[in-house]
Symmetry: C2
Subunit: 332 residues, 2 copies
Amino acid sequence: MDTGTITKPHEQLAETLAAEMADVNALIAERMASEHAPRIPQVTAHLVGAGGKRLRPMLTLAAARLCGYEGGHHVRLAATVEFIHTATLLHDDVVDESGQRRGRPTANLLWDNKSSILVGDYLFSRSFQLMVETGSLRVLDILANASATIAEGEVLQLSAASDLGTDEKIYLQIIRGKTAALFSAATQVGAVIAQAPEDQVAALFAYGDALGIAFQIADDLLDYQGSASATGKNVGDDFRERKMTLPVIKAIAVATADERAFWERTIGKGRQEDGDLEHALMLMGKYGTLDATRRDAVAWAETAKSSLVGLPDHPIRAILHDLADYVVARLN
Amino acid sequence: MDTGTITKPHEQLAETLAAEMADVNALIAERMASEHAPRIPQVTAHLVGAGGKRLRPMLTLAAARLCGYEGGHHVRLAATVEFIHTATLLHDDVVDESGQRRGRPTANLLWDNKSSILVGDYLFSRSFQLMVETGSLRVLDILANASATIAEGEVLQLSAASDLGTDEKIYLQIIRGKTAALFSAATQVGAVIAQAPEDQVAALFAYGDALGIAFQIADDLLDYQGSASATGKNVGDDFRERKMTLPVIKAIAVATADERAFWERTIGKGRQEDGDLEHALMLMGKYGTLDATRRDAVAWAETAKSSLVGLPDHPIRAILHDLADYVVARLN
């Protein structure tokens, strides 16, 4: 796929869904307001206005349209999904003690941790109000379960960090929770609100799940091989935060005794020195764990694409297909 | 009311509702588990097991029973209410940087802020799953609105702290949000799940609202005149945290220029010295603002009692009546 000459898939999606996304953005602006507490829209606007790709709400709109939905509830659900995402970002940045997000200072840095925690809670409650308005108990059930899975994934990540015993199975649980659960809920509720047949609901769930996993593996890989300008993060942030991501897990699985001592010191105990990141990258190169991680991401993108097979033949299906390629194409 | 010789009303409530509260506690234990992240039940058990009075879930059970409910959903709703309460306590303790709660070290002190934030999110999601199981969209609507009001009240409190312009109207908004919203939702959903007539739903909402306000005013008063053994808090915590609670608001409203300078320095700028708390208490004594605050709490307790008039004549109604007295009786 040549991403240089054609419009990127998420841009195609934005173009195709422009009118509905305008409604989503208007609804977000309306619902992040607070009559009594002006700090809420200030903090929210800082993050919502920072130019994220709005990938998750677009997935909800896309799934609903693909399944022939002609009502208006998908706009509410898309805003719901974006509010849940924004709430988790606010809390994540406090938990990770992050200073930068999307190339700008984080809310916890500009205001304080307190504001980030409480405004996150507010947005989560607002998302909940929005989904109740759809009147669909099945949608509420899916999103309640997704919320619990997200929080569980975040807690799991917390206890797995710096634990050299974290294996690929636990890693998959973590990223399914913290990332894929919202992707799969986003696509699934789009199909559910359209009252699509069960096989289409299942297919769109599977697509979102695999896309989210591919997306997160790619993100974790870019942390070691990306550039700050492309990702808005610094190379090695995860190493410094002692996160057990796939490139490290794979390198530890085949480490010699000396190498294991290196990982034990840097990730396990967090006693890092100048040159450690370079040494870690050398070890990943030695065993090809960055390449192996890339292959895993590509395999999940393939799973995402194959999930689309039974869905209606529709221009949006083609874009979702390309989107799966695109998520891993940024790795080349 | 002689609280020395008879059983306290919340103990009477616990006795009357013992069988259902056992179901609520079993459900809480079941739902706070996490297959993948053992830290979740550890943190939750620390707080849930610390022997809170379970006042809020008992209010839900009481309201449902008072309205003649014979189903089982009130148990789910009571557990929902307790989960929401526990989630807000976890986040509050991080926001307030508290070290003690219910006479024990807080979770943020025993584990870390990260765990408190994420486990709070998890419990909030769990509460949401529980309420979805009742299948009542009206209940979901009430609890979604209550959650948003709680978060809004907390943010409002954050921006009002140390702001000498905070008046009694803003104070009422804050405590309605951070405390009364969950009390009124707790009683209201009990009536709604029982499919009680609208006037009973409204009466139980009004009771919970007034009881919650009386409860919080009493709490704020005890911060200045209680003993650590009775409240589990130290006298003057709110003063040190520069919170604009009712006794201070009333003293500032009538302050001379010199006194205003004192409040400006201690609460506004937070430059506190030895003897400042004693001086603040002297000023409150001079203008009788502790007494005036007590009278406000008693007036809200009267409002709570009068809300009960049109409700069915039932032993639980009498206990709720006494409970309103009891909430302010601890001030004598």
